[in-house]
């Protein structure tokens, strides 16, 4: 991946956006509370803020001033499809005059599964469909950098689950460097390997998602938004039925299929995880495994506990009282219990 080297400043109404960072990450998450300057940062990267000072370089070469010569794809939060054009003409917008337009159209339509929507106008599409068309439109001209501004924020939980797999496909197949703005750190952890934390227009932390997305760092930044765990694994057939193979073991998850194949992604809400300091027996939860607590932070009326178990990183949301009573701190050996039905399939 190319090295993205950003050193910019832009006066905004509340503060001056001053971002300085370098990243070679194929998928960089930009996190922070609302009003931290995340969207403005993306607009500067896209070249849409002519008043911004400083430079944005890729592999040492400054990006051109004009957005049309930057080769940067942009998916705004509300999709912003061209309302007077069909989905197909939206996708073709950036392919104007290209000899490979038809081939590119077919490729991105396939990747985002919008082939059946091409003749529709944006106002007839659902929120999730609009996001997919916007994603396909930005990908069509093969940008070097793809900027995603909270692509899931305006969608309800069910729609989120439908869009996430397309984001995975884009990340894994499209050969484009992603910059992904979100305030949902479950998404950030899942999609990105590197994260930037912003507050008040400046970058306050940068590093691997595991380093940056610690309960303490996030408690520092502001109220924590929803922090669902997102778990990916491969199906494995066992005597007791299909199970999900993750890095450090097997998880029992619900499935309607008799013999599921390939990989699957599940979402586990942080409040659906039980923690115990004693071994758990005689409990109906299907998944019980040792948990190594890494850190604990109190934020408002919640206590957030990050732990490792089954080779995965998990977040549990407890009450400060139970954290006190159990004496949970970094290093405490514990056990986690998760019902099979706490796992919600992302499809």
């Amino acid at each position: 991946m190319a090295e993205l080297d950003v050193d910019i400043s832009l006066p905004l109404s509340q503060f001056v956006l001053q971002a300085r960072f370098r990243s070679r990450s194929p998928a960089l998450a930009v996190l922070g509370p609302s009003g931290a300057g995340k969207t403005s940062l993306l607009e500067v990267l896209a070249g849409l803020r002519p008043r911004a000072k400083g430079t944005v370089r890729m592999d040492g070469a400054p990006l051109p001033e004009d957005p049309e010569r930057r080769s940067v794809g942009y998916v705004p939060q509300d999709a912003l499809l061209f309302p007077h054009l069909t989905a197909e003409d939206n996708l073709r917008f950036g392919l104007h005059g290209r000899p490979d337009a038809d081939r590119r159209l077919a490729e991105v339509a396939e990747m985002t599964d919008v082939g059946g929507l091409l003749r529709q106008y944006p106002h007839t599409l659902s929120g999730g469909e609009r996001q997919r068309v916007a994603l396909a439109r930005a990908l069509a001209p093969q940008p070097r950098l793809l900027l995603l501004d909270e692509p899931l924020a305006s969608l309800d939980a069910e729609l989120k689950q439908r869009i996430l797999p397309y984001l995975f496909r884009v990340r894994d197949e499209a050969k484009v460097q992603l910059v992904y703005v979100t305030h949902h750190w479950g998404e950030a952890r899942l999609l990105a390997d590197e994260a930037l934390l912003m507050r008040g227009g400046t970058v306050v932390a940068q590093g691997s998602t595991q380093e940056v997305l610690s309960p303490k760092a996030l408690a520092d930044v502001g109220p924590l938004p929803d922090a669902d765990n997102v778990i990916r694994g491969a199906w494995e057939a066992t005597k007791e039925g299909p199970a999900l193979r993750v890095r450090g073991g097997l998880l029992w998850v619900p499935t309607a299929e008799a013999e599921p194949k390939g990989t699957a992604t599940f979402l586990v809400p942080a409040e659906d995880i039980l923690l115990s300091t004693r071994p758990l027996e005689g409990i109906s939860a299907r998944n019980v495994f040792p948990a190594a607590v890494r850190d604990v932070a109190a934020v408002g009326t919640d206590a957030w506990v990050r732990f490792e178990g089954c080779g995965e990183e998990w977040w549990a949301r407890l009450t400060p009282a139970s954290v006190r009573e159990l004496g949970l701190t970094a290093g405490t050996p514990a056990f986690a219990a998760i019902k099979a039905h706490a796992f919600r399939r992302l499809r």
Binding site: A46, E68, G73, L80, F82, G94, H123
Partner: protein, 225 residues
């Protein structure tokens, strides 16, 4: 309808069309500029552009008369080009164009202001130049508002009287439009002959306004849809 009536209607329609055609590109650019430009002087510019709407048409006519006078810079330019405006059909076109310009500018400005400027940004990240984004995104999205404004401006041009009579006079067969012909016939005490012309103007204006309403309604429907 007599041959003279026919001639009046023909001249009226042609000059109103000419005025509208002359206005369209300028007013679209001005409306777009006013919608997109937020710098100092915007309000002042807008006010100046809207003046013909509120000033007595004869006042505007007098200003035009002064501007076109033989010794004035504009008059000299026209003279050098061999274009004769005063007391010709071109004078009718110019007077109606100036008087109907604000209507078109205002409609165009409203139509462009309704186009989300962030769409321009998206278009540019997709390779469109600023000018390309105007043609491919802003203009098509503002088109219905612009067309509705064009019809209104055309209707306004049809009935132009005060400025026209000052710079083009009231010459039958040359500069006499419907509005002037009605005035002329009433002045001559031939009211009976003025009525058919009143009926004709009403018919044309009715058709134009109905068309503008239809376009406006279709637009609202689409926004809601």
């Amino acid at each position: 309808m007599s041959g003279a009536d026919f001639e009046v209607v023909r001249l009226t329609l042609l000059t109103a069309l000419g005025a509208t055609a002359l206005n369209l590109p300028l007013a679209v650019l001005a409306g777009w500029g006013l919608a997109r430009w937020s710098g100092a002087g915007r309000v002042a510019t807008e006010t100046v552009l809207s003046l013909p709407l509120v000033l007595p048409p004869t006042a505007v006519g007098l200003v035009l008369l002064q501007a076109l006078a033989v010794g004035s810079p504009f008059g000299r330019l026209l003279d050098a080009l061999g274009v004769e405006v005063m007391f010709t059909w071109k004078g009718v076109v110019l007077a109606s164009a100036v008087m109907s310009f604000p209507l078109l500018v205002r409609s165009a400005r409203t139509a462009f202001a309704e186009v989300d400027p962030r769409l321009v940004g998206v278009a540019r990240t997709l390779g469109a130049s600023r000018w390309g984004a105007f043609w491919r995104v802003e203009l098509p999205l503002a088109a219905q508002g612009v067309v509705a404004g064009t019809v209104l401006a055309f209707a306004r041009a049809l009935g132009e009287f005060g400025a026209t009579i000052l710079i083009a006079g009231n010459i039958p067969g040359r500069t006499q439009t419907l509005a002037l012909a009605i005035y002329h016939r009433v002045q001559m005490g031939k009211e009976a002959q003025a009525w058919p012309l009143v009926a004709l103007t009403t018919l044309i204006a009715f058709a134009a306004i109905a068309a503008a309403e239809r376009i406006g309604q279709r637009r609202q429907g689409e926004v809601r849809g």
